[in-house]
Symmetry: C2
């Protein structure tokens, strides 16, 4: 067969604020690949089906000299993130053509992988859409599942406040907290998102662009658990309205990713209220919770016990836009890029 | 015997910034007491020997409508804090004249107590000065001892940064960390304090009024443990220079007690560096560590294994000044008020 274009999303320049498609990332079709003859050197060839756009990607779009919690992207090279693909050819006995694989993939239509290190073959007995494996049944789902178990110390009758509650992590936390018998206060950035979060069973849901978080928490709190995806003003409001011995799960800080963010004024209450703030990355919790997660969550999603929504863009050429909208909070549900059908 | 004056330090008004002796607190001698005939109603009469001035007292000097971690002082009534006294008369079989008692006492020369609830009879086999029991062998010592064991997870070769390192808590932390084989970076507010902290064995000690904390930590860090007595800029510098999985022991926040304090800019690093911040009050840790503390610490102080310094004011009429200087950091060592000799 003749070589085909191997579209890629390249990291082109460090954004000063939000990442700009066509400027800070560029979709490129200059590379070609011969799917029949590309050498595999004992590895395997994958056709990318789904890629994920997640808030943390912004932290990779930086000067590599600046330290951060994730490696910087390299200019001129494809950005990378979690994805699912189908194996087209394999020279590795552990995996065969037709198998599906999840891993940290470069944003390319076709990729060759030397071995299974860092990847996982997905059985998907539950026949979930493959995109679920970068969302509710993927890294965001693992984040919610593992950290809720590790840090929240959920107690019936207590109150939790969840930010970014319509996102893939927040929407699971709302459902976990609800199942644990907690009062759930949740915020989201549009009325449409608010309606979805209400449908998940949250007790109090508000659009933080229309209603001040501090006012809602003053009325509905104090809060025993704060699930922080955003930082800044929400964190301040949570501190001001925290109960004694509150647990703050510091999961993300999107208000600080695309600029300086708002300084936090209320840290002085931490010792007096005996609050613990747990900063974490999901990778540290996977050795403890990873296998339980795959045993439990896809099945619960398939049964309809756990709900999620997705915001899918079709075509790798739209990946830069998906990333931007994810940073701006314009996505409604988990941001995914459908690169190809099977 | 004729009645004697029973001097008291009264809470007179809520300070707007620092507490002002003669204005926000007033020393008053209008009350008298007849030591021979005052009715005890089954309790006992104590002559106050020592009272303590601690940073947290500022938080009690507020409008009672404002919530905080400690009850507000009542206007017109004596302020109160930890002290040691000697029993003059007793109708309680559990305690007799000549015994020494530690408790949360009103700032008065003589007090009657209904029972031993909240007080502890001090055996003092080690014959420490009584003032030690409100410092290294009292609440500040308990704070350092219990929280170091509970939260620091000290590991040999790691680095700790201690603020207010010449104070009664900080100076113990320097010594505990040193004994645990850590590299100790410490800050204090005068060259005299710096010299004392150096003499305790800290590796790097600086005067934060002359040298920027962030610069020292950038050079000598990253830090694995941060002992926070102050908050604000020091907390920001510690966040910026924290190692992965750092433990922040949030013990106090004096930069926020007498005004708004400096907002914290670097909270966004908490999740990525997987930092845990532990807010606590010593009272929550005493059930676990209290008895070990009294078994271990006074003996180690008596042996000279643990060192401390004291800044003593003689006379209850100077208690308001001791409290002010403590808030301003002008004390050199643990602030105590010697109310009377035995």
């Amino acid at each position: 067969m003749a070589p085909v274009k191997n579209g890629r999303l390249l990291f082109n320049d460090i954004p000063s604020g939000y990442p700009e498609p066509g400027k800070t990332t560029i979709y490129d079709e200059s590379e070609t690949i011969d799917l029949d003859s590309v050498s595999l050197n004992g590895g395997f060839l994958v056709k990318t089906l789904v890629l994920s756009a997640d808030p943390y990607l912004r932290a990779r779009m930086r000067d590599p000299k600046v330290e951060s919690f994730v490696p910087a992207f390299e200019k001129g090279q494809p950005i990378s993130n979690f994805g699912v693909g189908v194996v087209l050819r394999s020279e590795n006995k552990a995996i065969k053509a037709g198998d599906h694989v999840h891993g940290l993939f470069p944003f390319k239509k076709y990729i060759t992988l030397p071995n299974l290190e860092g990847s996982r073959i997905l059985e998907n007995k539950e026949r979930l859409p493959w995109s679920a494996y970068v969302g509710v049944a993927g890294m965001p789902g693992q984040t919610a599942y593992a950290a809720w178990k590790e840090y929240a110390q959920a107690r019936k009758g207590e109150t939790v406040f969840v930010t970014a509650a319509s996102g893939p992590i927040g929407s699971l936390i709302v459902q976990f907290a609800n199942a644990d018998g907690m009062k759930v206060i949740a915020s989201a950035g549009s009325d449409e998102k608010v309606a979805f979060v209400k449908s998940l069973g949250a007790d109090v849901v508000f659009n933080y662009k229309k209603t001040k978080t501090a006012d809602v928490l003053a009325k509905e709190g104090p809060i025993n658990v704060y699930w922080d995806n955003v930082g800044g003003e929400s964190l301040d409001a949570a501190l001001a309205n925290a109960a004694k011995h509150a647990r703050f799960v510091e999961c993300g800080y999107i208000t600080g990713y695309n600029g300086e963010g708002t300084p936090v004024k209320n840290m002085a209450v931490v010792f007096g209220k005996e609050i613990t703030l747990y900063g974490f990355l999901v990778f540290s919790l996977l050795p403890k919770y990873g296998e339980d997660f795959y045993r439990e969550i896809p099945a619960r999603v398939a049964k309809g016990e756990l709900r999620y929504i997705e915001d899918a863009k079709k075509g790798l050429e739209w990946a830069g836009h998906a990333i931007l909208e994810n940073q701006q909070g314009k996505n409604h549900g988990k941001s995914v890029i459908i690169v190809a059908e099977e």
